[in-house]
């Protein structure tokens, strides 16, 4: 059981900055995120895009903002559960929250701050009528354990980094045959990976099929063949033990939608007049995941919400302790040992 003062669900910019503001009040934080890296949308969707409305930064790349936040919160020694989705919340006999992830990791704290942004990032699913039939029987949307693909016929679809990186990984390491199918001639992935894939294709280590897409799946209780259609509308069948359609991730609100929180338009309703508290005492929602009259989904607004929220969290955690707002210019940043 991981014990802390505030469980923060979501390690995007707002979740990360919460650690700083909480740390100034001597509150410790633990962050949970479904992505394997901190940064949320900034890391997953647009790390190389500039942001122009972070006060004090005329322009900053989203990835750099995340790096800076990680540096800023380092003195407060946050801990992380990454690559795991928070699926369940309950209260124990002491009135503390227990948040459990899908993988079973348990966390305990008197306060929960949901900074879940747009929600859980989950794989996009190709619209193939019988795809469900083959899920976990040859079709996988993410690579969990690469070892199961050893010496198998693998087909990968997609033109982004994930598709290219895994195609290269399998071709370089242990697959008998890797086929990469992409709907166009050009790729969105890094040039370097594209070049490597082209070289591997020339050497016959990757079977590269361009201007084509998978349109059907066949097999008897497990995937055996995939049907591919090219631009000339010709259809071919390819033997496949596994098909990995890697078309990126899309966010969905996810399990928190079933936690008994008041939800409106896919966001958690909070009291913005006070402290961004939800209808569950001790649970707060900040950043893009919340809604209230006049809400703006901006990182800078999330930073404000986090700052207000931790003051309320402090009073909840230490009801008998007095506190006064301090300025970092005066008191500095006193991290945890």
């Amino acid at each position: 059981m991981i014990k802390t003062d505030i469980i923060i669900i979501g390690a995007g910019p707002v979740g990360l900055f919460t650690v700083f503001e909480a740390g100034l009040l001597k509150l410790r934080c633990h962050l949970i995120d479904s992505l394997p890296i901190p940064g949320g949308q900034c890391a997953e969707i647009y790390p190389k895009k500039p942001i122009y409305d972070i006060p004090g930064y005329p322009s900053i790349l989203a990835g750099d903002l995340v790096d800076n936040l990680m540096t800023q919160i380092k003195p407060f020694k946050p801990s992380f559960t990454l690559g795991e989705t928070a699926t369940n919340i309950e209260r124990n006999d002491e009135g503390k929250f227990i948040v459990t992830t899908k993988q079973g990791t348990k966390h305990e704290a008197p306060v929960v701050a949901i900074a879940g942004g747009l929600g859980v990032f989950i794989p996009r699913k190709p619209p193939i009528f019988n795809i469900k039939e083959f899920e976990n029987k040859g079709v996988a949307y993410i690579v969990k354990d690469p070892e199961i693909y050893r010496n198998k016929n693998i087909v990968i679809s997609g033109g982004g980094d994930s598709a290219l990186d895994w195609a290269l990984f399998f071709a370089n390491n242990f697959s008998r045959k890797v086929t990469l199918i992409h709907r166009s001639q050009s790729f969105r992935a890094h040039l370097d990976s594209v070049q490597q894939a082209m070289n591997m294709a020339e050497k016959g280590k990757i079977n590269l099929i361009l201007d084509a897409e998978v349109i059907g799946l066949d097999g008897n209780n497990k995937l055996e063949k995939i049907n591919v259609k090219n631009k000339s509308q010709e259809e071919i069948a390819i033997d496949a033990d596994y098909w990995l359609p890697l078309f990126g991730l899309t966010p969905k609100l996810g399990p928190i939608a079933n936690w008994g929180l008041e939800i409106e338009k896919n966001a958690i309703v909070v009291n913005n007049a006070t402290d961004y508290s939800t209808n569950i005492d001790g649970v707060y929602a900040i950043g893009d995941v919340n809604t209230y009259p006049g809400k703006l989904k901006l990182i800078l607004c999330g930073f404000h919400e986090a700052t207000i929220m931790v003051q309320a969290a402090f009073k909840k955690i230490h009801p008998n302790k007095n506190n006064v707002l301090k300025y970092t210019t005066v008191s500095g940043v006193n991290g945890f040992d």
């Binding site: 969707i45 699926t87 899920e135 949307y141 033109g159 709907r183 969105r188």
Partner: protein, 120 residues
């Protein structure tokens, strides 16, 4: 001669057909640096626009049903559409269509929603 300022001069008409086939006639301001995805969201039509307008998610895909907008796609837009589904010859990303006087009378239809693997 001083021209009198009229707000009406800064609007164009756009028709959006939603996924249930219902037509919505929208007044689109041309002086707010907005795009079609943002316009749809401002009218609370079911357009996600997850990436905020960076041509990086295809959740604002539309089909152009009139001759008002060039079907020429930007490089980023093309790359994104290459990885999207239900893409047709007349597909564009709403976030890449600027609201300008030239698109007055534009008709578009929303593409189907993106399906996702909801096994958390």
């Amino acid at each position: 001669m001083i021209k009198s300022f009229s707000m009406e001069n800064n609007f164009v008409k756009i028709t959006v057909t939603d996924r249930l086939g219902k037509e919505h006639n929208l007044d689109a301001p041309t002086d707010m640096n907005m795009n079609l995805m943002e316009l749809c969201k401002s009218y609370e039509l079911p357009v996600e626009g997850t990436c905020g307008g960076m041509a990086m998610c295809a959740s604002c895909q539309v089909y152009i049903e009139s001759n008002h907008v060039s079907l020429k796609r930007s490089e980023d837009e093309q790359a994104m559409l290459d990885e999207a589904w239900n893409v047709q010859e007349n597909s564009r990303l709403g976030c890449q269509i600027k609201l300008t006087p030239q698109i007055n009378g534009l008709k578009v239809k929303l593409a189907p929603e993106i399906a996702a693997d909801e096994d958390w």
